[in-house]
Amino acid sequence: MMKDAPLELPKKAILDNYEMCEGLYDEIFDANQNAREHYKILVEDFGKLKPEDYTKLNDYAKISFFNQGITFAVYSESLKGVERIFPFDLMPRIIAAKEWEHVEKGLIQRNLAINHFLYDIYHDKKILRDKVVPADLVFSSNFYVREMIGINPPGNIYTHICGTDIIRHNDGHYYVLEDNVRCPSGVSYVLSNRETMKKVFSNGFLHHDVRSIDDYPHQLLEMMVSMAPEGVDDPTCVVMSPGMYNSAYYEHSFLAQNMGIQLVEGRDLFVDKNFVYMKTIHGPTKIDVIYRRVDDEFIDPLCFRAGSYLGVPGLMSAYRAGNVTLINAPGTGVADDKAVYIYMPDIIRYYLNEEPILKNVRTYRCELEEDYRFVMENMHNLVVKPVDESGGYGILIGSRASQEELEEFRTLITGNRRKYIAQPIMSLSVHGTFIESESAFEQRHIDLRTFSLMSKDKQFVLKGGLSRVALTRGSLVVNSSQGGGSKDTWVLEE
C-alpha cells in the first residue's frame, strides 16, 4: 500500500529512494516502511537535507577525522603498513532506552559469568569437574595460561575490559557474536565519532536526549586505580603498546593521552626484584597498574615467547608475586575461544543461576563427530571461523565461497578440528548508510561492539559502542581490518 504512494511519505525525503530488501531487519524503518518510534525525529531532521547538503557535511566530517589523525593500519600482503582513515557514516544508529537497558543487563550478566568462569578454571575447576564445560576443551585452548593457575588477581577480576560484539538478527533479537576479553579495541573511534558528530551535526543533539559517553577515559582510569596491588594507595598506571606498527597504535596513544598517563612500550620498562619500573630521565619509577595492549604470548620473553621484544622480561613473575596488576589478566582468552563460546549459556546458568539475557548463536564444534559431519555437508550455508583469531581474519562465509574455497576449508578443518567452529549465517540487521558513489542512502549490515569495564564492586557499560558497517553491498563483514566503516551510536534517555 505504502509502496504505491511514495509521494504521501514526505518524512522519507532524503531517504526517498531508500530501497528496502525483504527479509532483512532495518533499524530505521519497520516492515511497513514507517520510521520506528525512536528514529522519527532523526528521519525528520535528515528529511530537511538535500543530497548536496549531506555531501558537504560528510566532507566536513572527513576533514575532522583527518585533522584528528584517526587512522588504523591494515595487515595484508599487498597493503603492508598502509594507514587508513576509518570510514565514517554520518547517520547515527539509535538505540531506544528500553532496548539498551536489556542489552546492558545482558552484557553485565555475561561478563560476570565469564569472570567467575576464569577464576574457576584457574582454581578449583568445578565447572569442569561437573562436566558443564569439557575439561579437554579448556586445557587445549591456545589461550589457557598455566602461569595463572592458583593466582589471585586483585579483587579476583580477570576481565576488566570486555568488548562484546552483538548483532540484531532478522528475528529482531540481539545475539552475542563474540566475547572479546583479551585486548578489545575500537573505543577511541566511539569517542572520536561522537566528537565529529557534535561538530558536524550539532542539531541532532538538540533534538535528542543522547546519553553521554565522554567519561569513558575517566571511568577507565578509575577502574585501573581501583585495581592497584594491595597496599598501593596512589598507583602509577600506564598504557603499554606494542608500538607504532600495531594497527591500534592510534587508540593506545589516544587513551593514554585522555587518561593523562604515560604511553610506554616494553623497552621503556624493566623488572627488578619482581617490581616493575619505568625508565625516566629522573630515574626509575615504580609501575603498579599496566593496561597492556600486548597479547599474552608477547608480554614476557622469559616466560612466554622467547625473542619477543614487545614485552618486559620478568613481568609475569612480578605479576605472579602480586606486585603489578595487568589489565586484562593473562589467560582470559580461554573465555573468548569460539569453541568455549558454545557453552556460554551454560556458564551463565552455572555461576549465576539465571537464564541468559542475550542469545547465543547456534555453533557447531568441528571437534565433535556429529557437528563435524554436519559442517562438512552444509558448509555452503555456514560461516566457518577459527576459534582463536580476531579481527575477521581467517573466516569463510559459505554462501559466498567458491568451490575451491570450500574445498580448501574442508582440508583445513579436517587437519585441525579443534581450531574450527561453524555457525549458521546470521542475517545482521541493516541501517541506512550514505553511499558516496550513489549519492544516496542504502541498506548496509551493521553490528555493535560494546565496551564494558569491571572492577571489584562496579560494572560500567559505555552507552552505545561502536556500530560497525559493512560498506560493500550485501557484505556481512564489518571489521575495520576488512574494509568496514562505523557510525556514531546514540542511546536515548528514557
Binding site: D136, R146, V271, D272, P301, L302, P313, G314, S317
Partner: protein, 289 residues
C-alpha cells in the same frame, strides 16, 4: 660416606662472552638442587659477575630460580653455583601399592585428568604428530602402570641411539623419534610423549647425575622423567640409561618439558653473536678423598 646417605658437591659454571657490548641483560638460572624426600640442599654459594645481587624466587612449579640483572654494560659474565647436597639411599619401587583394578579406576577417572592435566596434555616439546602415534607402545591396561612404564623405559632406550650432535635444544619429541637419535633431553621427551598418550602423567626432570664413584671431570646436566603411578606417586625413570632413578640422581626441577627446566634463560640487548661455555662437576664425598 655412610650407609644411609651420600654427600655430593656440585658445581655449575657458565660463561657468556659477547662480540658486541651488551647494554641490558637479565638471566634466570634453574640449576639449584631442590629439597624433596630423600634429598637435602645443605648449603650453596653463588659467584657471578653480572649483577650486584642475586634474586631468588620460586617458579611456576615451586622450584628456586636465581635471577641476575645487569647493572652496567657488559661484554662477558660468568655464573658459578656450588652446592652441597645430601642424598638418602632409598629402596627402588618394587611392586605396585594398589591392585590393578584400583589403579585403573583412578587413572581413567575424569577427576584424575583434571588434577594432572599439566602433565597429561601434550606440550610444546612433547606433542607427537598424528602419523607418529602408531609408534607409541600401547598400554593395554592388563598390567600395572608401573610395569608398563618399565617396559616403556626399555623401549625408548632400545629404539633411540645416544648421539650428541644429532639434535639441539629446540628438537621436539617427534623429530628425535623420527631420527631415532638424541641426547638425554630427547630420550626424556619421547618417553613423556608416549606415557601421556597412554593417559599416564609424566613430567620432565632436570638435574645432575653422579656417573660413578671415582668419576671426576666435566659433564653436562642430565634429564630424566617422573611418571605418576596411582597409589605410589611420582616414580623416576631414566630412559637414556634404561634404569630407575636412584641416589645418584640429584634433582633440580621438573616441569611439563624442557622449556620449564632449561638451566639458563636470558634476554639481552646486543647486536653481535655470543659464545657460551658451560661446565658441570658432580663429586661424591668419597671421590674427593
Amino acid at each position: 660416606m655412610s650407609d644411609h646417605h651420600i654427600d655430593y658437591n656440585i658445581e655449575y659454571y657458565s660463561k657468556n662472552t659477547y662480540k658486541e657490548t651488551a647494554t641490558e641483560g637479565i638471566f634466570e638460572f634453574n640449576v639449584s638442587p631442590c629439597n624433596e624426600e630423600g634429598q637435602i640442599l645443605v648449603d650453596y654459594k653463588i659467584k657471578q659477575t653480572l649483577s650486584d645481587s642475586v634474586f631468588r624466587q620460586s617458579n611456576l612449579f615451586g622450584f628456586e630460580i636465581n635471577r641476575i640483572r645487569s647493572t652496567a654494560k657488559f661484554e662477558e659474565f660468568y655464573f658459578r653455583y656450588q652446592a652441597r647436597v645430601q642424598k638418602a639411599r632409598i629402596p627402588l619401587p618394587g611392586v605396585p601399592a594398589w591392585n590393578l583394578e584400583k589403579e585403573l579406576e583412578e587413572l581413567l577417572s575424569d577427576q584424575f585428568f583434571i588434577n594432572h592435566h599439566v602433565f597429561l596434555c601434550p606440550s610444546f616439546y612433547t606433542r607427537l604428530p598424528e602419523q607418529q602415534l602408531s609408534l607409541v607402545p600401547v598400554y593395554d591396561k592388563k598390567i600395572s602402570p608401573l610395569d608398563y612404564l618399565k617396559t616403556l623405559n626399555d623401549h625408548v632406550h632400545a629404539s633411540m641411539k645416544y648421539e650428541s650432535n644429532a639434535t639441539s635444544v629446540t628438537t621436539k619429541a617427534g623429530d628425535a623419534l623420527a631420527l631415532s637419535k638424541g641426547v638425554c633431553q630427547d630420550f626424556a621427551h619421547v618417553f613423556i610423549a608416549m606415557a601421556r598418550y597412554n593417559g599416564i602423567p609424566a613430567r620432565y626432570v632436570s638435574g645432575y647425575l653422579h656417573q660413578g664413584i671415582n668419576y671426576v671431570g666435566s659433564s653436562f646436566m642430565h634429564a630424566w622423567v617422573e611418571a605418576y603411578v596411582p597409589g605410589m606417586g611420582w616414580i623416576g625413570f631414566d630412559p637414556t640409561n634404561n634404569i630407575l632413578v636412584d641416589e645418584h640422581f640429584i634433582k633440580v626441577s621438573h616441569g611439563a618439558d624442557y622449556a620449564d627446566c632449561s638451566p639458563i634463560k636470558g634476554v639481552l640487548r646486543t647486536n653481535g653473536d655470543s659464545v657460551m661455555a658451560y661446565d658441570v662437576k658432580v663429586m661424591s664425598q668419597q671421590s674427593q678423598q
